[in-house]
């Protein structure tokens, strides 16, 4: 059984169809890159997998470990191991990062019938991960993402990924707004989390990110469909030719 199976997915936002029959299969241990021009539906796919309201699925299905993902609330999906690293992580003033992390982690554990983390164990774990991602302690005391730079926000997403240990990580435009140093730190964080038990889907507009995070598979999206799939060399081909010829193909 595949970890994630997206089959013939059709999605509308208000009156406009964004995805017109998209299919994608992701197995444990694999890293897939989804590339495509703006407006091709990449972010829509990530939002629908995570359960963001406002999207209407009019056809197809998404199975996660064989279970119907579309029937689940967003928090159930998270507890079952779906993690979306946001393109634009929101700022939540008044909710301290540390409090947020502990509440979220314990909510997931509770939903899975696991015991809650004790405070010392939790703190130890957060500090270890934060250190490896170069996240200073005072950032954890601030409101979630409040006053964080673009790079800090992305590192905070990866921190959560490391803490929650999801089975499926979807990284939506992780490279947007990052300079090259920030990108390298974030990519190192992602690479450290690659494992045979975990799959990743990296959504990106540019090939640049894939110099740091090497994919097993590359899919090109255009106009709401996957129009071409291949190995990592497909990304290089795209870099040379641009998206235009794929758009024609769609």
């Amino acid at each position: 059984m595949s970890l994630l199976e997206v089959k013939d997915l059709q999605v509308r936002v208000e009156d406009r169809e964004i995805l017109h029959g998209l299919s994608l299969v992701v197995n444990k241990g694999e890293l897939h890159a989804i590339m495509g021009p703006n407006g091709s539906g990449k972010s829509t796919l990530s939002h629908v997998i995570a359960g963001k309201p406002g999207y209407e699925v009019t056809g197809g299905h998404i199975l996660f470990n064989g279970a119907d993902l579309l029937e689940m609330e967003p928090d159930e999906r998270a507890a079952k191991g779906v993690f979306l690293a946001f393109q634009y992580p929101v700022e939540i003033p008044g909710v301290a990062t540390m409090n947020f992390l502990r509440t979220a982690l314990n909510a997931q554990r509770k939903a899975r019938g696991e015991s809650e983390y004790s405070t010392p164990d939790f703190l130890k774990k957060v500090r270890e991960v934060a250190k490896s991602l170069n996240i200073p302690q005072d950032m954890l005391r601030r409101g979630v993402n409040v006053g964080f730079s673009g790079g800090e926000k992305k590192r905070n997403e990866i921190l959560q990924m490391a803490l929650f240990e999801p089975a499926l990580c979807i990284l939506d435009e992780m490279d947007s707004g990052l300079d090259i140093d920030a990108l390298r730190i974030a990519a190192d964080g992602v690479n450290a989390l690659r494992s045979p038990d975990r799959a990743m889907v990296v959504i990106t507009h540019y090939q640049r990110l894939l110099n740091y995070i090497i994919p097993d598979f590359v899919h090109v999206m255009s106009k709401g469909r996957v129009v071409k799939s291949g190995g990592k060399e497909l990304a290089l081909e795209l870099e040379e030719s641009g998206y235009a010829k794929f758009e024609d193909a769609a």
């Binding site: 995570a50 967003p74 928090d75 998270a78 979306l84 946001f86 992580p89 939540i92 008044g94 982690l105």
Partner: protein, 450 residues
């Protein structure tokens, strides 16, 4: 019965209640006569209704449909029920002063080892001695303006003056630094539906500091009850008062409370009000800056659901120059509840260099929830810094989704955002213990909700 009859009905019923109980109300000497004057003053204006601007959103002719008989003096069953309720609302380290069903309860109060310079009496004692606890008695300070006597200006304070039976009267001598917070707790245990009329006062002498918490709670099986309360706070020159009011009455209770505050020169008053309880409530605070250079920080939170109606009204009267005031108010309104915030700041012609700011925000959790925010600035001086703002809206969907995508169920995600929303007001509480006690009270509301 038609509506007009019902409107007159409550006032007449109060008249009958006063006529029936007046001979049994505590007080000698001038007290009975003063009660009569206060009652006449109430009758002249009647119950406040929507055509009176200050009561526009809290029409007592519609909301106060019945007059309940005066509460009976508590028996042992009542004290036991009160003790149980007190246990879950204790504030560590505070000196507790308890009123059960409107009667001071010495056996539940901490009266031992009273600091030298602190005097605590009951209102009943005071009235029985023929004294009248009025704001303009000038026992503490010369600066309180007699015109500020709220007995004459607000009908519900006048009604309270006519009917009041008990309360705690606290005086703190000049220069005292009261380390232990004072916690005045009103517990309703009422075996039968009842009304209580209480009045308390705290007078801080020059350059004293003190902390006061007021709580309104109910025993689990209390019958429906009505609270009519007045609090008088006098903060003399250079004194500082930290004050928190936690109104956690039972869901079918009715609570009309007033606070009249007089501030001497260079006084500092930090006050916070939380309302989570009662079916119908109004908390109205009148602050008079009666000396130059004083400072007020006032904040408040209404957390409401079901069909609750809660009105928080703040009148700040900048009568003299060089005073500062800050107001922060937050309302969280669910179901068909109704929250009202009125903040009026008056800057009188002499009050140059006044610095007054007010911000109120409401969070609406359902389509039928209602929040009325009415900030009012009346400025008669020309060299001042004043501002106000008001917003209302729903929870931010993008924040909710972010939290849910991290595993928080909907109610928990909402709770976290609500906590953050009200936290901005609760952070205004300067005293750490009071802030924590308030957070705990807000938490009780959130937990009851989920």
């Amino acid at each position: 019965m038609n509506v007009a009859a019902a409107k007159v009905g409550t006032r007449d019923a109060l008249g009958e209640a006063f006529a029936r109980t007046r001979d049994r109300l505590p007080g000698t000497g001038q007290v009975p006569q003063t009660r009569q004057l206060a009652f006449d003053s109430f009758v002249r204006r009647g119950l406040p209704h929507r055509r009176i601007e200050d009561w526009k959103y809290t029409d007592l002719r519609a909301l106060m449909r019945e007059v309940l008989p005066p509460a009976l003096a508590p028996n042992q069953t009542a004290f036991d029920a009160a003790a149980k309720a007190l246990a879950t609302h204790a504030i560590e380290g505070a000196r507790r002063l308890v009123l059960v069903d409107g009667y001071f309860a010495p056996q539940l109060s901490d009266l031992a080892n009273l600091e030298k310079g602190v005097r605590i009496r009951t209102l009943r004692e005071l009235l029985e001695s023929g004294a009248w606890p009025s704001l303009h008695r000038r026992t503490v300070t010369e600066v309180i303006n007699p015109k500020a006597d709220q007995d004459q200006s607000d009908p519900m304070i006048a009604l309270n003056a006519a009917m009041m039976t008990d309360g705690v009267m606290i005086e703190v001598a000049p220069g005292m630094r009261l380390a232990q917070p004072l916690h005045v707790v009103h517990v309703a245990t009422c075996a039968r539906p009842a009304a209580m009329f209480t009045r308390s006062a705290l007078r801080l002498g020059k350059a004293t500091t003190a902390t006061l918490i007021e709580s309104f709670i109910a025993a689990n099986d209390a019958a429906i009850y009505q609270v009519h309360h007045a609090m008088m706070l006098l903060v003399d020159a250079e004194a500082r008062l930290d004050h928190v009011r936690l109104a956690e009455d039972s869901r079918d209770a009715f609570n009309i409370s007033s606070a009249a505050v007089g501030l001497g020169p260079r006084a500092h008053f930090n006050t916070f009000a939380l309302t989570t309880g009662a079916g119908v409530s109004r908390y109205q605070m009148f602050v008079e800056f009666a000396g130059e250079g004083s400072r007020v920080e006032t904040s408040g939170v209404n957390l409401l659901n079901g069909r609750q109606h809660a009105d928080t009204t703040m009148f700040l009267d900048h009568a003299l120059p060089n005073c500062v005031s800050r107001e922060i108010f937050r309302a969280v309104v669910d179901d068909r509840a109704h929250s009202v915030f009125q903040g009026r700041i008056i800057v009188r012609p002499d009050a140059q260099k006044t610095d007054a700011k007010m911000m109120t925000r409401a969070l609406l959790l359902s389509d039928e929830a209602e929040a009325d925010n009415k900030p009012e600035l009346e400025i008669f001086a020309d060299d001042v810094t004043c501002g106000h703002g008001a917003t209302s809206g729903a929870l931010d969907e993008s924040l909710l989704f972010y939290l849910r995508a991290r595993g928080l169920p909907e109610k928990e995600a909402q709770a976290l955002l609500i906590q953050a929303f009200v936290g901005e007001a609760i952070e205004g509480i300067a005293n750490d213990e009071l802030r924590e006690a308030t957070m705990a009270a807000a938490q009780r509301w959130l937990e009851a909700r989920s």
